[in-house]
Amino acid sequence: MKNENKIQYIYGIADNALILGQRLSELCGHGPSLETDIATTNMALDLLGQTRSYYQYVAQLSGEEKTEDDIAFLRTERQYKNVLLVEQPNVHFGYVITRQFLYDVFHLLLLQELQNSNDEMLSAIAKKAIKEVSYHQRFSSDWIKRLGDGTDESREKVQEAVNDLWKFTDELFHMTDDDKIAVESGIGVDVTTLKDKYHQIVKEILEEATLMVPEVKWFQKGGKQGVHSEHMGYLLADLQYMQRTYPNMKW
């Protein structure tokens, strides 16, 4: 497998961690309680930590004099390969939790397979991340239940978020050409095989939370090809502000 394919494959995983981490870090100081603020920040820190491990590896693979920051901050929007789900905005706490939950369940299933990758580095990153993401899934599932089976208002709000974000879930199981090459060479995960398990877990939790599983027939996709939603440009404007305004400096 060519390094360039491997790099693209890693972006497909790592960019999710970066963008979701960035979204979560917007919340620091603005959450519903001090305790939840601290919890969501912890998840942001876990995800950004994972991002750094992946990007440092990419920098090494690239064979150029690249750093993790060049990779994080200096690509164009079309070069980010995260799924649309993770770039969706923090509309309200119901969206934050739902986005987290819908991603966590996938993320954990992915990592559980990725730890068997024949790429030692990816396997090691996955093994470490599994512990973090297991906790994320526990946290977001608990909160889905609280909001779903809480008050009428909270059920309505979180159901709205579930309905709204559901259309982004199918993309999680799409395979890009780079994904296929990675699977063939034994370093990547065939995400299509995770789909049934994903729906089973998500359905179970949503039902326990007295929420409806949306019946959506039309799904959105594009993030994996670098075709993002309109939200992405603003997120990157924030993320890249310093590196773009003051190029070639050390911070």
Binding site: G31, I38, T41, R52, K145, G150, S154, L239, M242
Partner: protein, 318 residues
Amino acid sequence: MSEKEIKNLEEIFEQRIARDEKIEPKDWMPEKYRKTHIRQISQHAHSEIVGMLPEGNWITRAPSLRRKVALLAKVQDEAGHGLYLYSACETLGVSRDELYDQLHTGKAKYSSIFNYPTITWADIGAIGWLVDGAAIINQVPLCSTSYGPYARAMIRVCKEESFHQRQGYEIMTTLAKGTPEQKAMAQDALNRWWWPSLMMLGPTDAESIHTEQSMKWKLKRKTNDELRQQFIDQTVPQADIIGLTVPDPDLKWNEETGHYDFGEIDWDEFWQVVKGHGPCNHERMSARVNAWEKGEWVRDAAMAYAKKQEEKKLKKAI
């Protein structure tokens, strides 16, 4: 209780403090002690959580991943410190919600420094270096204050804060050693944060109303002016080392006193900000109120859910 009995209790109480004994939540204490502590501890807690905002302003724009995680961890610590302090305050019989209410309605104060805007990345360096530096000078003596829960919270806070000031100074050092543009950014931040940092240590002793009583209760071990001098003496050489200039033309080492002499502080500006007319007073408060009000349905949901679970458990038991 008769007046005489109270007086007697007060005497015993003051003797205990003088002997360096700690006061614990259920111990008898004069009403004034309780009130003063609620005021000071809650002000301190409010400062931590309002202080998250100016720094939080730069988390999404931090210039490198390393800086981003460090800043996130620092702002998160501040939430933690707010939490420890609110908890200490709650042992005095006031709830966190009541304390929030005092903050949101403007009855309670918080450190005025957080009403200044963070307009460049260097401001994050300046806050860590100067604001946390001044805060540490204020806080370290509180680790041995007389009220047990406050002292314990402060020990935890001080232990965790040790990385905060370094984080800021490292940012400033990197900028000062960077390109001319970066160095100018650092100098500009120092220019804007220097005087507010000096003000942060409180009004001059002549103007300070609480000092004497606070000294007795070990809420304070040194006066505001002494703390300010200590801050200046330790910070000026740090600025020299990285080649930045403290924006005070009157600043001069005084061989005789062994301290730096410094220029006049603009106390009018201080009082303007304290009284609510600083550049960001309004933004800070509306951010806090907003977070609290928009979070209400979430907090309610969690309580409703907990109640339902409790009922389910009971039913099962029957």
